[in-house]
């Protein structure tokens, strides 16, 4: 058993907070650390900000900070969902993105953009949730039909669903060229122009959904040994699977509605935390949340700084790292 300490997550959290501050300084304009400190003090009271350009405040608190907070929360959320999917499907190379839940959600999002519903609060999230859940039930249905829930079947179903949905989205985009740029950029995943209200929604949802994950972490842990074993040990496998998968889909739909499809985090991060800290679900969740936050923070910082003043879709950055890793896992497919 890989021993996990109680201090390590705390240490990692501190490093994460520090990295967030460092990320704040980086961007089109470099804002030095002491200026950030000054501006932060000014937010909460009186501080001398003479000599600091007025635009710095807006850049910092309205553009960079919500975006950085969002990247940390979305990264954590996606990684946690990956843990759930891997445990329920007993498959180390599956996550909501590979199985097509993310693109399922993006279909609902695209539809709401075309219909102009994106001006409402939850106007994108609810359609995204509906199509995401539909995709989930299709996948569950197919995986139940094939009695041997083999890794290959699930992955192939995921690929087919991804194909299907990207075809439908392409058709929708071509038919509604006015929203083309918006939808296209969004399907690639981007954290640009995130507002505080979206950050708030995502944060609330993440907390709401991670609670049942931790609540069922022990059951999920045993379910990794297989359904029969888990049932015999008193785990209500059906309930655990439905509750955690539905909450994951809710979380995915919220993340997708805020920042599009960002892939591979749910695949890589749980895998890395398995390797480093073992398969126990409680430590898996803890470390995946932290490492996922790290990963997306770095990926998004790269996305907004690599090609200044242009902005890269963060989904393509995570895919650049994730796709080769996925391939590596496929080739090496053996016990994890």
């Amino acid at each position: 058993m890989k021993r996990t300490s109680k201090i390590l997550p705390l240490l990692l959290l501190i490093v994460l907070l520090f990295s967030m501050v460092v990320a704040l300084t980086i961007g089109v304009v470099r804002i030095p650390m002491d200026t950030i400190w000054q501006l932060a003090k000014a937010q909460f009271g009186h501080a001398d900000t003479t000599g600091v350009p007025a635009s710095y405040g807006i850049t910092l608190f309205q553009l960079r900070l919500p975006r950085i907070v969002m990247s940390v929360i979305v990264g954590a959320a996606l990684a946690a969902c990956g843990c759930v999917f891997q445990s329920i499907f007993r498959n180390p190379i599956c996550d909501p993105y590979v199985l097509g839940i993310s693109s399922g959600s993006s279909l609902g999002g695209a539809i709401s953009f075309i219909l102009g519903w994106d001006v409402f609060y939850f106007g994108v999230t609810i359609p995204a949730l509906i199509t995401g859940l539909l995709t989930l039930f299709v996948i569950l249905g197919i995986s139940k039909m094939s009695r041997r829930r083999s890794i290959e079947t699930l992955l192939l179903v995921g690929i087919a669903i991804n194909f299907l949905i990207s075809a439908v989205i392409t058709l929708l985009v071509v038919m509604h060229q006015r929203e083309m740029h918006k939808i296209y950029f969004w399907t690639m995943g981007s954290l640009a122009s995130i507002s505080w209200s979206e950050v708030l929604m995502m944060t609330v949802m993440t907390i709401l959904c991670v609670i049942p994950f931790f609540f069922y972490s022990k059951d999920l842990n045993i379910m990794q040994m297989g359904e029969d074993v888990a049932k015999n040990l008193g785990v209500n496998t059906k309930r655990v699977a439905y509750v955690t998968l539905i909450f994951s889909s809710l979380l995915i739909a919220t993340a997708v509605s805020c920042c599009g499809v960002i892939g591979f985090i749910g695949l890589i991060i749980p895998h890395v935390s398995r390797m480093l800290f073992g398969n126990n679900m409680r430590s898996m969740f803890t470390y995946s949340l932290i490492l996922g936050a790290f990963f997306l923070l770095i990926a998004d910082t790269l996305a907004r700084t690599l090609a200044i003043p242009a902005e890269l879709p963060v989904g393509s950055i995570t895919a650049l790292a994730g796709a080769p890793y996925f391939l590596f896992l496929l080739l090496r497919q053996k016990k994890v």
Binding site: M1, R90, R147, F215, K218, Q224, M225, D228, N236, N279
Partner: protein, 253 residues
């Protein structure tokens, strides 16, 4: 006591068990035997509540399976499946500790008493030195013993095992049978075990259940069930092989 009345069960439209009825008395040691595909595994899975029944009812200590909550049932029956495919690696200790799940609340992974018990079970099953070994690094026989250890740690009045002796060398086969016999005699644990070796059944089991094509052929005290005539018919040994009452099957002539 396990009362099975008129159950039918199977997979994907194929009925494996048909109108199957049998009663296992409390603290019996029963060997379930029969040719491949006779429904032995389906019977065990049905009793463990892992198999959907198309018809009939299974009662354990007077209560129907559906009246048990999952955790209550987990304190009644431990089940060691025929095959264990390991996808995610755990240490032997962690896996045996999972057997304590029915007694723990959802926030604790172990209590000091649990740890003591798991240590004891590991010693009993001769796994102590492999405690921290990961499942993926175990041999087939060691993996099997770990699964049996998990079932013992579950501390249930009924333990069911589906071909637990497969993959084990002869010493470990005897060791497992001795452990089961000890549990049966000292703690009155009901043992229901799918076996393929007649000598083990004759030596250890008080009762035997001979099955063929989803139906009971013979059920009763082992020495009365495993007679040359019954075995000859049940397994279709024909004229080429012959079963003698010591449990050995030989080529005729």
């Amino acid at each position: 006591m396990i009362e099975i009345s008129n159950i039918s069960s199977g997979y994907e439209g194929k009925r494996v068990l048909r109108n199957f009825s049998v009663t296992f008395e409390k603290s019996v040691f029963c060997a379930v035997m029969g040719p491949n595909g006779s429904g032995k595994s389906t019977l065990l899975r049905s009793i463990a509540g892992l198999q959907l029944l198309e018809e009939g009812d299974i009662r354990i200590d007077g209560l129907s399976l559906s009246q048990y909550k999952p955790l209550e049932l987990a304190r009644k029956i431990a089940f060691v499946p025929q095959r264990e495919d390991v996808v995610f690696d755990f240490s032997v200790f962690e896996v045996v500790m999972m057997g304590r799940n029915p007694y723990q609340n959802r926030w604790e992974f172990s209590t000091p008493e649990d740890e003591k018990l798991v240590e004891k079970v590991l010693e009993m099953t001769n796994l102590k030195h492999l405690k921290d070994r990961m499942l993926g690094q175990l041999s087939g026989g060691e993996l099997r013993r770990a699964m049996i250890a998990r079932a013992i740690a579950q501390q249930t009045p009924i333990i069911m095992l589906d071909e637990p002796l497969a993959n084990l060398d002869v010493v470990h086969q005897f060791e497992i049978m001795d452990i089961l016999a000890e549990l049966n005699q000292q703690q009155q644990v009901t043992i229901i075990i799918v076996l393929h070796d007649f000598p083990y059944a004759l030596q250890y089991a008080q009762e035997a259940l001979l099955m063929k094509e989803g139906e009971i052929q013979h059920f009763g005290p082992t020495s009365e069930v495993l007679t040359p005539e019954n075995v000859q018919n049940c397994f279709g040994l024909g004229s080429r092989y012959v079963y003698s009452s010591d449990g050995i099957v030989r080529k005729r002539g």
